[in-house]
Amino acid sequence: MSEKIQDGTAAAAILAAGIGLAVTGIASASAEAIAAVGKALVWSKPVGDLSGKTIIGIAAWLVSWLILGLIWRGKDVKFRLVLIVSTVLLAVGVLLTFPPVFELITGG
């Protein structure tokens, strides 16, 4: 086989996905907690605030992927640390979209 591929680009893809998930979760919980945020995230009337929450999450994912990808291109990074941080971000994303958790936050 040919030369080794540095793990920076893989790490960027994984961490960026984690950021996208966490931002989606944060946007979801914020929309529930603050009525004005929920209203501001209605970017499609038939869909409601789900449109804004998810588009923000996707934008955060793509922008962070681009930035991390450029920074870490051709480099080896602390891959284990990236996996740990990404797992935490995944947990944030899942928990903040879990109704009992965001109801706890909003006191609903």
């Binding site: 680009t9 789900l50 998810t54």
Partner: protein
């Protein structure tokens, strides 16, 4: 005669074509990843394995994007539409129908609330997995760390998609979009 409304057809495309398709290709990807080991494959077998992995990885990512886009922008507006004032038959308004019944309201307040958000996490994860598959290609066989990371990522996407699918099936059973 058995007939389907346009809404039922779109709901079936969202849940059955895209959802079941996702599960089908997930199974393929999992099997291909588990057999992607140097001692199990010849050079020719490795090439074929990676080509099939690229196909199944692409299918997983594309199907998960299609599922959330069709689900959110075509089916969900029918689900959440508010009935006109004075409407007594809520058959065409699934969200209102669930909320009107205290025994079923949890399927909206918990089930749909979680499903509509959780579903959007799946394509992001699936796309990250797809990137790793194409970035590493045949080198995945040498990169145990990346291979196992990929395995875990694909499994996480499947678990989340599974939760979304089960909630969707139950909600459709209780208050279908018709």
């Amino acid at each position: 005669m058995l007939t389907f409304t346009g809404r039922e057809v779109w709901t079936a495309i969202h849940g059955m074509a895209f959802g079941f398709g996702f599960i089908l290709f997930f199974t393929a990807a999992l099997a291909l990843l588990l057999t992607l080991q140097p001692q199990l494959l010849t050079a020719k077998g490795l090439r074929r394995n990676v080509t099939l992995l690229k196909i199944s990885g692409t299918a997983i990512a594309v199907l998960s994007w299609l599922a959330v886009i069709v689900g959110t922008y075509i089916v969900y507006p029918w689900y959440r539409a508010a009935p006109p004032k004075g409407t007594t038959d809520l058959g065409s308004f699934p969200r209102s129908r669930l909320l009107a019944n205290s025994a079923l309201s949890g399927w909206h307040n918990f089930g749909m609330e979680w499903k509509e958000h959780l579903g959007w996490l799946v394509p992001i994860i699936a796309t990250a997995a797809l990137f790793l598959i194409f970035r590493y290609g045949e080198k995945l066989v040498e990169e145990k760390k990346i291979r196992w990371t990929l395995f875990v990522i694909v499994c996480i996407a499947f678990v989340l998609a599974g939760i979304v699918g089960v909630l969707g099936a139950i909600i459709t059973k209780e208050a279908a979009v018709v």
